[in-house]
């Protein structure tokens, strides 16, 4: 993290980078994993060693960073090999050098996904993942809403410092955003992560920018960036690539880089 912002080259001087960790929440299907993967690459381009941790039993957060390759989730490794899984099995180096990990979880409709996230994050801690890989930035890509204690794990002391909510101007997405902000506010006296702001992933609904600005105002937070609805993202995804890698000059890529800089400049 930096106090003075990027240099003329667009990269932060190494001495100004300290550990920065964000947790991304938002309604299911809103584009969290796509945005998380692009932000991970953006942070890496700004000079950070980055890890993205998928916190979803589906274990598909990082597929854009691995060229579509499926990672073996941490919980599957624990099930097969027992606790104390070697770090080299839990993490994979992906697109542009971003370290990728997937928490995983039980099969749909079974077990406890929240407890799974807790166990997976503790397994990464036990392996000293962030220390051994000299990680400067972590992006926790969390399934949907803060629905139970397990899903609050990424925003607890020792994990994320900042929460970023992804929403569109659609009613249900904004409703989910309010719930997430409420949960973050509920934990404000506990030293958990604070709300850094909202990323608007436009769906081109009427009055979308006004609605989301009002939402941000009502939640006492800021809009970190507005991503235009873009075919470029879909084209890149067809190639199993983040748009920042496939089409760095696309307007959506430019905005993603700007959001990354803003997030870096906040701490």
């Amino acid at each position: 993290m930096t106090n003075s912002g990027p240099s003329d080259t667009g990269r932060f001087p190494p001495e100004e980078i300290i550990m920065h960790r964000i947790a991304m929440y938002g309604k299911g299907g809103i584009g969290k994993s796509t945005i998380a993967s692009n932000l991970s690459i953006a942070f890496h381009r700004l000079g950070a060693q980055v890890m993205q941790v998928g916190c979803d039993p589906k274990a598909d957060s990082t597929y854009l960073l691995t060229g579509g390759k499926e990672l073996t989730p941490i919980l599957s490794l624990v099930r097969d090999k027992g606790p104390g899984v070697p770090l080299s099995l839990m993490v994979t180096k992906g697109e542009e050098g971003v370290w990728c990990a997937e928490a995983g979880g039980p099969p749909p409709g079974m077990g406890c996904a929240g407890r799974g996230i807790v166990a997976a994050l503790q397994e990464l801690d036990k392996a000293d993942a962030y220390g051994k890989l000299s990680i400067d930035a972590v992006v926790y890509d969390v399934l949907g809403d803060v629905v139970c204690g397990g899903f609050s794990m990424p925003i607890r002391d020792g994990y994320a410092d900042s929460v970023v909510i992804v929403t569109s101007g659609e009613r249900m997405a904004m409703h989910a955003a309010k719930n997430i902000a409420e949960a973050v506010d509920h934990f404000k006296d506990r030293g958990y992560a604070r709300l850094a702001g909202i990323i608007v992933n436009k769906r081109n609904v009427p009055d979308e920018e006004r609605k989301t600005e009002e939402l941000a105002k009502s939640l006492g937070t800021v809009i970190l960036g507005v991503l235009p609805f873009s075919r470029d993202v879909q084209v890149a995804e067809e190639k199993h690539l983040p748009v920042l890698s496939d089409n760095p000059s696309s307007p959506v890529s430019v905005e993603l880089m700007a959001i990354a800089r803003r997030l870096y400049g906040q701490a």
Binding site: G82, R115, K126, R190
Partner: protein, 427 residues
């Protein structure tokens, strides 16, 4: 042979000789549990927070040892798991307990449970609130989480660690603190004698009678431990408050015992003790036990394979070893036994079919070392050794020989002995 319950020594694998299966605990209850161990902290009070049904065992433990006044429970019910109030249940429950006590305890041991893990309760926050509410009380986190017992640090290791978590760094002297065991070391064992010879103060938690004496444990500049389960706690304490740490493992191997003695006398700068005449005593015991088949179990000692090797190499008819897995430090003895004790039956101590497999008739010519095998073997010729019972070094060999002689000559009332929970634990 059924690898869920038994395997011959010559054919078993290390460190897990058995396949996982349903488990059973026999009513041989002399081993200490988390309630007994926690009671070693003087002037402390325990609060267990759990679903009512799971509290039954610990409540009975406390009642059986007459420690009801040092023990409380807070029940977790279904609404707390749904409405988000489980942290308040913990904090307010403990506050309610403390406020009802006639006198504030020096320390509170809070035992959280599986449900707190399932719901990802922020225990750090709970302890912060409690410490703020009662700044004069020392709090430590303990756990009754059986679902976690096979992952990471074991409950036994954790409990032995938390036992010293409240010891503060005091003004240092040249004392020696022995860590990690629940029964006091024998006054005639090498460690106690050598420390006395050095003129240093000897300390250990079972000897502490009050909070001040407990805190004195931290004044020592030398820390010793012998039980492998105490390693993590001993390392944590020595690192936190400073001091030399030396591991002097329990062993029935004369060479290891000699090596331990050398290390200890060097550290304390005293002359090494002369070796006792243990060999003649073991030989006499072996001669007397002719005609007895011998069985041992893992509750008797931290080093059951070392014990097995000693017995086999001194003429005892060792037939069976009861355990669930081999300890990591027993590899050398395991290799020796694989070669020299191929025919020994290794039996899974937690196998649920054991009570039905063995004869219900009392066995006249079986000598058992350890409570579990005494129960399974239906014998009254039994050495009541529990987790080494405070016997260390050559003194442990002397004691073993004497106990075997006694067990061969005189029958014990096995049932009445093994049914006592936490043998030797006093409030």
């Amino acid at each position: 042979m059924d690898k869920h319950k038994e395997v011959m020594m010559g054919e078993c694998s290390f460190p897990s000789p058995f396949l996982e299966s349903l488990e059973y605990t026999p009513p041989a209850r002399g081993m200490w549990n988390i309630v007994h161990i926690g009671m070693l902290i003087p002037e402390s009070h325990q609060v267990f927070i759990c679903a009512g049904g799971c509290l039954r065992g610990v409540v009975l433990t406390a009642a059986e040892m007459g420690a009801e006044d040092r023990f409380s429970t807070v029940s977790v019910e279904e609404p707390e798991t749904i409405d988000g109030s489980i942290e308040e249940n913990l904090v307010n429950g403990v506050i309610d307990v403390v406020d009802r006590l006639p006198k504030k305890p020096k320390a509170l041991l809070i035992y959280s449970s599986c449900i707190h893990e399932f719901l990802n309760v922020d225990l750090d926050r709970c302890y912060t609130l409690l410490r703020k509410k009662y700044p004069v009380v020392a709090f430590t986190d303990c756990y009754m989480t059986p679902i976690m017992r096979k992952s990471g640090i074991t409950p036994d290791e954790k409990m032995r660690m938390q036992l010293y978590s409240l010891v503060e760094k005091g003004e240092k002297d040249d004392g020696v603190t022995f860590l990690g065991d629940v029964l006091p070391l024998s006054r005639t064992c090498g460690i106690v004698r050598e420390v006395a010879k050095s003129g240093r103060t000897y300390r250990e938690i079972p000897l502490t009678k009050n909070w001040d004496e407990y805190q004195e444990l931290g004044r020592s500049s030398v820390f010793l431990y012998a039980n492998p389960a105490a390693r993590k706690g001993a390392e944590e304490l020595a690192k936190r408050i400073g001091g030399n740490l030396l591991y002097l493992p329990y062993s029935f191997d004369p060479a290891t015992i000699r090596e331990n003695g050398r290390k200890l006398s060097t550290l304390l700068s005293v002359k090494e003790e002369d070796e006792r005449e243990w060999e003649a005593k073991i030989a006499d015991a072996s001669h007397l036990a002719k005609g007895f088949s011998v069985a041992i179990d893992y509750t008797a000692t931290a080093r059951p394979l070392s014990l097995a090797r000693l017995l086999l190499s001194h003429g005892f008819a060792l037939k069976r070893i009861y355990l669930d897995a081999f300890g990591g430090e027993e590899k050398e003895d395991y290799e020796w036994l694989k070669e020299h004790g191929k025919g020994i039956e290794v039996i899974k101590a937690s196998n649920p079919s054991l009570p039905f497999d063995r004869s219900r008739e009392e066995q006249e010519n079986v000598l058992a070392i350890g409570q579990k095998c005494a129960y399974y073997e239906h014998t009254s010729h039994f050495v009541n050794l529990i987790a080494d019972s405070g016997h260390w070094g050559f003194e442990a060999l002397d004691n073993l020989a004497a106990e075997i002689v006694s067990a061969v000559r005189e029958k014990k009332d096995t049932e009445s002995i093994v049914s006592v929970k936490g043998w030797g634990c006093k409030v």
